[in-house]
Symmetry: C2
Subunit: 242 residues, 2 copies
């Protein structure tokens, strides 16, 4: 694209350049993690001063789309973690399958009564005691997402202890006599990060999050767990289909 910025458009030139580069990055014109053209090359391509390009790159860096390293160049954001959505969706298996080191830990839990929404999702009466688990999920020691899961407390009495022992929800459920489960539905939504989630994920408050709400059921189709996971938008991508 040899499009020059329009100086009579009423939009700042640096903003036009930022938009153009953002579009290029969005469609993968630069390979993930790859180096962008040098600032000098970009300023020649757009026909502007190098400082104008730098201003545009600063915006993209603030958005997390590129990262500048002094003396090396400007690099496109590394590839997102593919998160396939299917009947058998297990975070640790997904991460390991992409040759990255899965991690995660329990960052909080509580017992609370089911509100109307949760009761409907889990197929229990309102007010039923639920166990709420807050977990942080990592790949290669960088936080990927925070997840909140609700389960009927009476069904999994020793889940928290089992989770602390095994470090995995799947393994902890197996210890509670639930050897297998599958994902029935997933809904995906985008939201702006609140201060709490932003802190866990190491992103700015207001940064976009990819939010999934999923219902896991046991082999007989009975609802087992409703989960709401918030992923840092620039670190994962949901994948549906082959």
């Amino acid at each position: 694209m040899d499009i020059r910025p329009d100086r009579s458009a009423g939009v700042a030139v640096w903003r036009q350049i930022a938009d153009a580069l953002r579009a290029d990055l969005a469609i993968g014109a630069f390979p993930p993690g790859g180096r962008l053209p040098t600032e000098a090359a970009l300023s020649a391509r757009f026909g502007v001063n190098r400082h104008t390009v730098r201003r545009a790159l600063a915006v993209l860096a603030a958005e997390g789309l590129v990262r500048a390293e002094r003396g090396r160049g400007v690099f496109a954001r590394p590839a997102r973690l593919d998160y396939p959505i299917g009947p058998r969706t297990r975070f640790s298996e997904i991460v390991a399958g992409q040759h990255r080191e899965p991690g995660g830990r329990l960052i909080g839990w509580a017992e609370e009564p089911a509100n109307l929404r949760l009761a409907a999702e889990l197929g229990v009466g309102p007010g039923t005691r639920l166990l709420r688990l807050e977990t942080l999920r990592e790949a290669d020691a960088t936080p990927i997402g925070v997840a909140t899961a609700w389960l009927e407390a009476a069904r999994v009495p020793a889940l928290v202890a089992a989770h602390e022992r095994t470090g995995s929800v799947t393994a902890a459920l197996a210890a509670c006599g639930i050897p297998d489960y599958r994902r029935r539905t997933t809904r995906a939504v985008a939201e702006a990060a609140g201060t709490e989630d932003a802190g866990w994920l190491g992103v700015a408050p207001g940064a976009p999050l990819l939010v999934t709400e999923s219902l896991n059921v046991t082999a007989d189709g009975r609802p087992l767990q409703f989960a709401r996971a918030r992923f840092a938008a620039d670190r994962v991508q949901l994948v549906v289909g082959s």
Copy 2:
């Protein structure tokens, strides 16, 4: 509910009011998209000053649960449009199936050579002439998303004219001799809105967007169209599974 805030509870009054209203919203006490009582009415109901109610409403607005419009009132967030992801995903059918009026129009198009990414997705050589279509999609006259679609230009010579005649991508493709296609893969990502998309969607720049990248193939499995759709985050939710 005539419950008055408890001033000796150690919890700020505005927070108690926010919680009460959030509970009302959760159980659907106000119809989705419906108007809440005026600030004056709410302040009377809770027995507090109007400013205290405004503080509570500001929290709910930041959470995206309500939206205030000067001179009109405060409105509950309308229900999100369910966007099921499957082999046969057609925007207009989805919208019509939820008893809303689908709309859409071509807001731009261009011919351009395929870059490396697009060439790989579409299974063509780099530099192949592609047709790029920019479409705006609406439900009940409110913008839902903007989509960019790329197709091999040589394969669909009269697509733009057909689209302007029929107003639909599916119908235009049929006119080009491609009666059917199916969605092979969908990837979902969250991003912050740029100025351009924000303008089309009527959201603030930086607002979260739900972005899908999808590959449509013809009946014989050959790639037909690669599309990148940006949805206003508070107006759609992707649905995977039953």
